[in-house]
């Protein structure tokens, strides 16, 4: 609590000279300026851009960049370990990850591991919040995180960076961008390794260093754009990664010998064609991933391989100045071979969608309707639908009422895991209703708020059966409601500040523990970011994050204490030279906390980083 008060005091000092974070402006950029079409992005709307331009963001993981968003919560097992996301109190499989327009998820688990994404690969990072993400279809009801590599103009083509941290971590990155002419490309290579042997407090009160927690990765990505004509372009993106990690012992394990390795390759080719009233985008995607999990102590050596092919066509058509239509089709094919399946398993998902957007003439009102039927192997047709009314005026701000239906398909593990897989599972279904309001005030103050309510049914849960193993079942109905508040302010060109708060109540309806908050779902999240440019060469960033109690068991007999974390970064850039040095201290107040029960988290750590552009 003492550390929390200190940050509040600092925040109060800074508050008198604030400006909005430019990167948080709503992304309403049109695709090509010279065209009549003026609707938001081709697929998806209303996403917020997360700033990747600051030096500090280059030395952190994607999870650290996103964690500062008050509506994003990561269930994280510690440095080097896996990390899954939750937005607005959702489950991890309700947040879509979109890479260059393609929805990616591990088909076995239905989720993504965000610890395997490097910010250095990306040129744009956006978040589509609840009410803005439904167009991505099943598995996007709570939000979407959009990773893009679209090439931006650069003054210097080569960027080199290197970093060290007190987690015995070393990493380096090189990116080369050629942004001139009709052929543009950006290639990035990154490698890193860390011992992650931080000091932690054991249950008996003694201190020791974490054992068997090393991680290492190499990452290569490439993005090319070819613009043969002004109204069309091709792109090719490829992303490969190899990631090895040791699984550290929990606080109640004497030792661990488990380790996990992942290797994946993802690629997408896109063709984009534009006429005066029409955009066409065609994408073809192929991804392969191999995952191996070994634990000699329990004689486990499991290999999982999965492939994913996708083909999609997206259109945006403006037949009338007040009327937009987005429509398209998508085919998605998963196949997986796993030591835990009997033979190869596959799933085919075919869908089409139509999204109608109508601006009422003479009124600041916009009506939006969307429907997306989807047919999945072995399942009945499922529908994702949405209706929105937006009222936007400068004096009142931007109001939006929305209602949508979304679903989450059973994963391959749910259907086929041996033992226990249940091929009769139905998809989880969600209905979400909400109200959002955004407004820009005088003196560079912006605010946004979202109220929402969700009904869910058929939640899939693995339960013990009478054959001696667990089986997934459509067991529960859930409810959640909450509010998210964001405030941005800047004074002058030098100080920017942002704060967000989220309240979520999420509970299961048909249980003995009725209305207990769901496990690992904090009711309160608060975050704060302040950036101060001290003259031109110095940038100081201060971040604070509060996470309230998380319950470990459904009946709340066990819980993890709330915690407050504070991080601070200082970046110095040489005068007249594009070379910067950064120092970041995470967990400044050395808080003792756990993200997952019995998984120790690091105390205060120092990170050093340098970036040079040539």
């Amino acid at each position: 609590m003492r550390s929390g008060l200190i940050v509040l005091l600092w925040a109060g000092v800074i508050y008198c000279k604030l400006t909005p974070l430019s990167g948080q402006a709503i992304d309403t950029a049109i695709l090509m300026d010279e065209l009549a079409v003026s609707a938001p992005t081709l697929l998806g709307t209303g996403s917020d851009t997360v700033d990747l331009s600051t030096g500090a963001s280059q030395l952190t993981q994607l999870t650290d960049v996103l964690r500062i968003e008050s509506n994003v919560y990561f269930r994280d097992y510690g440095p080097g370990s896996s990390s899954t996301v939750s937005m607005f109190g959702s489950k991890s499989n309700e947040v879509a990850m979109i890479w260059n327009g393609i929805q990616i998820a591990n088909p076995m688990l239905g989720v993504n591991d965000y610890s395997m994404i490097s910010t250095a690969d990306l040129t744009t990072l956006r978040i589509a919040r609840v009410g803005h993400s439904t167009i991505f279809g099943a598995g996007s009801g709570a939000g979407a995180i959009l990773l893009d590599q679209k090439i931006k103009p650069v003054l210097r083509p080569l960027t080199l960076s290197a970093g060290w941290s007190s987690l015995q971590e070393l990493k380096g990155n090189a990116s080369f961008t050629d942004a001139k002419g009709s052929w543009k490309s950006r290639t990035s290579i990154q490698a890193g390794k860390a011992q992650n042997d931080f000091r932690y407090k054991t249950h008996s009160g003694t201190y020791k260093n974490l054992d068997h927690a090393a991680a290492a990765h190499t990452n290569l990505s490439h993005h090319s754009e070819f613009h043969p004509r002004k109204n069309q372009y091709w792109t090719f993106s490829a992303w490969g990664r190899k990631h090895n990690r040791e699984i550290p012992p929990t606080l109640t394990e004497a030792r661990s010998e488990a380790n996990q390795s992942d290797a994946f390759l993802r690629s997408v080719i896109q063709y984009h064609f534009t006429t005066s009233k029409h955009h066409l985008n065609v994408k073809a995607y192929y991804g392969f991933q191999k995952q191996r999990y070994r634990n000699p102590l329990i004689d486990l050596n499991a290999v999982h391989r999965f492939q994913n092919g996708q083909f999609r066509v997206d259109n945006q058509w403006q037949p009338h100045p007040d009327f937009f239509i987005k429509y398209g089709v998508q085919s998605n094919y998963f196949t997986s071979r796993s030591d835990n399946y009997h033979g190869r398993k596959h799933q085919h998902r075919n869908s089409a969608y139509a999204h109608l957007q109508y601006e009422v003439p003479g009124l600041p009102i916009e009506l939006i309707l969307m429907a997306k039927p989807e047919k999945v192997t072995g399942q009945k047709m499922g529908w994702t639908t949405e209706g929105k009314i937006r009222y936007s005026q400068k004096t009142t701000g931007d109001w939006m009422v929305f209602a949508n239906k979304n679903m989450v398909w059973p994963t391959l593990n749910d259907l086929h895991w041996s033992p226990g897989g249940n091929p009769d599972l139905m998809p989880e279904k969600n209905q979400i209703y909400g109200l959002s309001w955004k407004k820009s005030w005088a003196d560079n103050l912006r605010s946004s708020s979202t109220l929402y309510y969700r009904q869910a049914k058929n939640w899939i849960q693995w339960l013990p059966g009478n054959l001696g193993f667990w089986q997934p079942m459509n067991a529960h109905q859930g409810r959640s409601y909450g509010i998210n508040l964001e405030l941005e302010k800047a004074v002058g060109p030098h100080v920017k500040m942002r704060s967000g708060y989220q309240f979520v109540r999420s509970y299961i309806m048909d249980e003995a523990n009725r209305k207990n908050q769901t496990v690992y779902n904090p009711e309160h999240l608060w975050s704060f970011t302040g950036i101060s440019n001290i003259k031109k060469q110095w940038e100081w960033k201060l971040e604070g994050q509060y996470t309230s109690t998380r319950y470990v068991t459904k009946d709340h007999t066990e819980a993890l204490d709330p915690y407050f974390l504070c991080h601070s970064s200082l970046i110095y850039t040489l005068k007249n030279r594009p070379w910067s040095f950064a120092m970041r201290i995470t967990n400044l107040f050395d808080s003792n906390y756990e993200g997952i029960k019995n998984r120790p988290m690091p105390g205060r750590q120092i990170h050093l980083h340098t970036i040079i552009k040539l």
């Binding site: 249950h203 109640t252 004497a254 329990i298 059966g465």
Partner: protein, 349 residues
């Protein structure tokens, strides 16, 4: 001994084990030892390190929750598979923590541990030697119980879920791997020369109960393609199967069994209730002794040798507190007690 004061401070009340008749409540006596009563092991949720041990004193109608954690000010670990009592010590077999904790039986104060084990399941101690089963290893580890060091191993060739030493023989129940080779034997190791023999039982031996008069009752769950579950009575002296009884239950049905030494019967939970098997009979009781309508997931079963009370551990969904339901020897509900996650075993003293 100072830790005794700690757990006394953790009294949370007492339960009524008597009938519904209203009686004047009595002040509970203080519990100053864990020797006389029922030890309830709750294995906890896998991976969460929240295994706990409860102590119930039926005579005083009082219980003490989480005795190990309270006394030692640290959690016991992850997945408490079983507890063995020997020479005034309790040995807590922490399966997913890979260790066995030694604690005094009277106070549950930790006095040592055997570490570096591979998913231990059970330990049986004889003549200062601890024989340790493993969920994955094909060896039985042998530990010197004075130094708490593993100093030998015996090759079995199978993993070992349950072990039991009797008359210089080590009996091992090894469950089948899921959809792997169907096992239909239990194994016996001669501890003099480490030779391994086996006794034929039904498909998929799952659990056993140790009876009086050198009898071992093995529950085999059969399979879903036609073989019914069965009980096999084995004489450990000969050793040979003395009786085999098929059960009217769906093949593959997973359950736990317990021996009731007061009534000389084996209790067998099936889908709708707990049935009794009297050794020598050709079938189990025609009606259920205890109806299981109120039990969500039966995970532990035990019978008190003192009063014949039957203890049922209900694991619910393995993510909430479990419940121990207590019945009289004739199957009448007597009381219930909320305990930790996954109550799996009862130990009576």
């Amino acid at each position: 001994m100072k830790n005794l004061f700690l757990f006394i401070a953790f009294f949370t009340g007492f339960i009524f084990l008597s009938s519904c008749e209203k009686e004047e409540p009595e002040q509970p006596d203080q519990i100053d030892s864990f020797e006389d009563g029922v030890i309830i092991s709750c294995e906890g949720a896998f991976g969460q390190g929240n295994a706990v041990v409860y102590f119930l004193d039926p005579a005083k109608q009082a219980y003490v929750p989480e005795i190990y954690r309270t006394v030692n000010q640290e959690p016991a670990g992850d997945v408490l598979q079983s507890i063995t009592f020997e020479n005034d010590n309790a040995y807590l077999v922490m399966n997913n923590s890979g260790q066995i904790i030694q604690a005094t039986e009277k106070t549950f104060e930790k006095t040592g541990s055997i570490e570096g084990l591979s998913a231990p399941t059970e330990i049986d101690i004889e003549d200062g030697q601890g024989y340790i089963g493993s969920l994955y290893s094909q060896h039985i580890l042998v530990a010197d119980m004075n130094s708490l060091q593993v100093n030998d191993s015996i090759f079995l060739g199978e993993q070992s879920n349950r072990i039991f030493e009797d008359d210089n023989r080590l009996w091992i129940l090894s469950q089948s791997d899921y959809q792997g080779r169907v096992k239909d034997h239990i194994y016996v190791i001669n501890l003099t020369d480490h030779s391994v023999d086996s006794v034929k039982v039904g498909s998929h031996p799952t659990d056993w109960a140790i009876g009086d008069n050198d009898e071992l009752y093995v529950y085999c769950r059969g399979n879903e393609t036609g073989e019914s579950p069965s009980i096999h009575a084995i004489n450990t002296e000969s050793p040979s199967t003395t009786q085999q009884v098929e059960l009217a239950a769906p093949g593959g049905f997973f359950t736990k069994i317990a021996y009731d030494e007061r009534e000389n019967r084996v209790l067998i939970p099936l889908e709708d209730g707990i049935y009794a098997y009297q050794p020598g009979d050709n079938s189990i009781s025609s009606t259920a002794l205890i109806n299981l309508d109120q039990i969500t997931a039966l995970y532990g079963l035990g019978v008190s040798p003192d009063d014949g009370d039957i203890y049922v551990g209900d694991a619910k969904d393995f993510n909430s507190a479990g419940v121990v339901a207590i019945y009289t020897s004739t199957g009448e509900a007597k009381g219930a007690l909320q305990v930790g996650i996954g109550p799996n075993n009862f130990y009576f003293d």
